[in-house]
């Protein structure tokens, strides 16, 4: 489902054109239904890799195929379309719209693919049901606990039925117990057939995945089956 060939990302910082090689030739294949963790210390390039896989950015060099489509050369609007259709993001800091209700936050991806409001609300409610938040749909993020917020974010990630769920340190801002709950939910999503990529530096979170990739200095250092 995901196939990258010799992926490079080089940033130029400041006016003096200092080049930072964030990724230096990454080859990666991910099959449908996999549960993958991308690990590595900070500065290893895992965030950069996530941005590329998540179609938020394009590589400096190399090719990236998502569902056999070459996305590495798409323009911003085409990427936006792919993000909307194929990818569900779960962020460490939740990234919910602060002034919108849980329901409206979950509706957001549907707004941008032109789903009609009736169907939109129906789908959003269903997604919230899947994360057990039926009784919280009219609450705003600041009226929800951290775990609840992350569940809203997960509902938003799955509402459009994406091929890939990208979770970037999903438990990073949560206490251990809540984090465990969220991971249980992620595990469940995987068991329901979703493809999941976790970006984390915590070994016990990565342990939920079935495959782990270790990045170091912009290269894949190790690629192992966990279970």
């Amino acid at each position: 489902m995901i196939k990258t060939q010799n992926l490079w990302k080089i940033y130029e910082i400041g006016n003096e054109k200092v080049q930072v090689q964030a990724l230096r030739g990454v080859d990666l294949e991910v099959e449908k239904g996999e549960y993958l963790a991308i690990m590595g210390p900070s500065g290893s390039g895992k965030s950069t890799l996530m941005n590329l896989i998540g179609c938020l950015d394009t590589p400096t060099q190399g090719e990236y195929y998502l569902n056999s489509r070459l996305v590495s050369q798409m323009n911003d609007d085409e990427l936006a379309f792919i993000r909307n259709k194929e990818i569900g993001f779960v962020f460490q800091t939740f990234n919910l719209l602060p002034r919108a209700t849980a329901l409206h936050n979950v509706e957001l991806p549907l707004i941008y693919n032109g789903t009609e409001s009736k169907e939109r609300i129906q789908k959003a409610k269903k997604a919230l049901e899947m994360v057990d938040l039926t009784d919280r749909i009219t609450h705003k993020p600041n009226e929800l606990s951290g775990g609840e917020r992350q569940r809203v974010a997960i509902a938003r990630a799955i509402v459009n039925n994406p091929s890939l769920i990208l979770a970037d340190e999903p438990t990073g801002n949560l206490d251990t117990a809540t984090g465990a709950e969220i991971m249980k939910l992620v595990d469940r999503l995987h068991s329901e057939g979703n493809t999941i990529i976790l970006i984390t530096h915590e070994a016990d979170i990565a342990a939920h995945a079935h495959r782990a990739i270790h990045l170091r200095d912009g290269k894949i250092e190790q690629d192992e089956k966990v279970k």
Binding site: N51, G54, L56, D57, D76, D77, A80, F81, R83, N84, K85, F89, F91, N95, L96, L97, P98, R99, L108, P109, I111, Y112, N113, G114, E116, S117, R156
Partner: protein, 406 residues
């Protein structure tokens, strides 16, 4: 649908940030308010003047040496050199113009008018032929007009304006009382109906006396104007030509020289008024529009702040699939909504101001549909114009940088 969504977001954020909204709106409110108030007052003045001028009637014109059309010092010096009309000229017009149904004349002077210890200085004294009351509208509130007979015999009778009656005879009947005009006594035979004010100048501060009496007591060289009424509008032009012919012959104007007098109709006055005021009005509207530009800049400023403040929101929206145009629209619709809300409030306040001005000053005001619609269109345009830069800036933001923004 996304459009409605954007309007909803805009209104919600307007309500959520009350103080900021008021500050944002205030620029547009003041701008639109000023424009609407100014335009309403101008429209009111135009309408009022048009009404006043048309009260002269479409079948009436008058002729003088040019005093009533002076627009510059040059005009003044030119008119000063011209010969004044006399009653003989009027008689000649009567004879030489078969299309002229009624021909009258009026002369003007300003004198002190006194009754016992009460007096008014600088009252307009009109020396008129008896038929002038049939040519231009002067309605009586009591008494009668000076008669043809009194005109023929230089009688000292007077028809007084409403304001003169009110000032000299408070609570009394002025009829058959003797007033003193300058140094001469006149008997009041009639009181005119109240005519109101025109641009703050009273239309009721006059005394009308027979023109023959006027000639005898106040002199003959007094801006005499010949008044002509034709039977139907169709013969206006031809009657004017006949009058022109008679007067040019009498004044010995060579065929290749322009008239040394002026023929005036209500159209002439309308044109004079327009020439005189149009530039001033354009300047007034222009100056009041400056507030709108300032209002637009305030919107732009606040929208830029809003884009920065909501960088993360932009990142989130982009991450879940918002395209550039979606973000562009959202911020543009917000700017236009803000401007339109400001515009609406401005229109309401502007109309109220125009009404207050009309009620408390001599200036009239007319709030017209087109000016309200124009006000709203202008507000929308201001929102669009000044909203586009912040919206483009928001649309161009990089989603990764936005998501990382603290």
């Amino acid at each position: 649908m996304q459009f409605l969504e954007s309007i909803g977001v805009a209104l919600k954020s307007l309500i959520a940030n009350k103080l900021r909204s008021i500050l944002t709106l205030i620029g547009v409110i003041i701008g639109v308010m000023t424009v609407i108030a100014v335009v309403s007052i101008i429209a009111g003045m135009n309408k009022y003047v048009a009404d006043q001028i048309s009260s002269l009637g479409s079948t009436t014109f008058f002729v003088d040496a040019g005093w009533r059309t002076i627009m510059s010092e040059e005009d003044y010096l030119k008119v000063l050199k011209r010969k004044e009309f006399t009653l003989q000229d009027m008689e000649a017009v009567k004879k030489g113009c078969p299309l002229c149904w009624k021909v009258g004349a009026e002369m003007v002077a300003y004198r002190k008018v006194k009754y016992r210890e009460k007096y008014l200085s600088d009252v307009e004294i009109d020396g008129s032929t008896a038929n002038i009351t049939e040519i231009s509208d002067i309605n009586l509130s009591s008494g009668r007009y000076p008669s043809e007979f009194e005109n023929l015999h230089n009688r000292r009778v007077a028809l007084i304006g409403w304001e003169v009656a009110d000032n000299l005879f408070p609570g009394q009947d002025p009829l058959e009382k003797d007033i003193k005009i300058g140094n001469y006594y006149f008997r009041v035979v009639g009181v005119a109906e109240k005519r109101g004010t025109f641009l703050g100048i009273s239309q009721d501060n006059f005394v009308m006396i027979p023109i023959t009496t006027f000639n005898k007591l106040f002199g003959t060289k007094r801006f005499l104007a010949i008044f002509v009424k034709v039977e139907s509008f169709g013969s206006m032009q031809e009657a004017q030509d006949q009058v022109r012919l008679v007067l040019r012959a009498r004044r010995h104007v060579p065929y290749d020289k322009p008239d040394d007098f002026a023929i005036m109709t209500s159209d002439t006055f309308m044109e004079l008024y327009r020439n005189f005021t149009s530039t001033a009005f354009i300047v007034m509207i222009g100056v009041s529009s400056i507030a709108l530009v300032v209002g637009g800049i305030v919107i732009m400023n606040i929208m830029l702040v809003s884009v920065t403040e909501r960088t993360r929101e932009i990142g989130i929206r982009k991450a879940v699939g918002a395209k550039k145009k979606n973000i562009l629209w959202q911020f543009l619709v917000e700017a236009v909504t803000v401007a339109l809300v400001g515009g609406l409030i401005g229109v309401i306040l502007g109309s109220i101001i125009a009404k207050i001005v009309a009620a408390t000053t001599p200036l009239p005001a007319a709030i017209e549909a087109w000016s309200v619609i124009t006000g709203l269109i202008i507000a929308t345009s201001v929102g669009l114009f000044f909203g586009i830069f912040p919206a483009v800036k928001a649309a161009k933001l990089d989603p990764i940088a936005c998501l990382r923004y603290e």
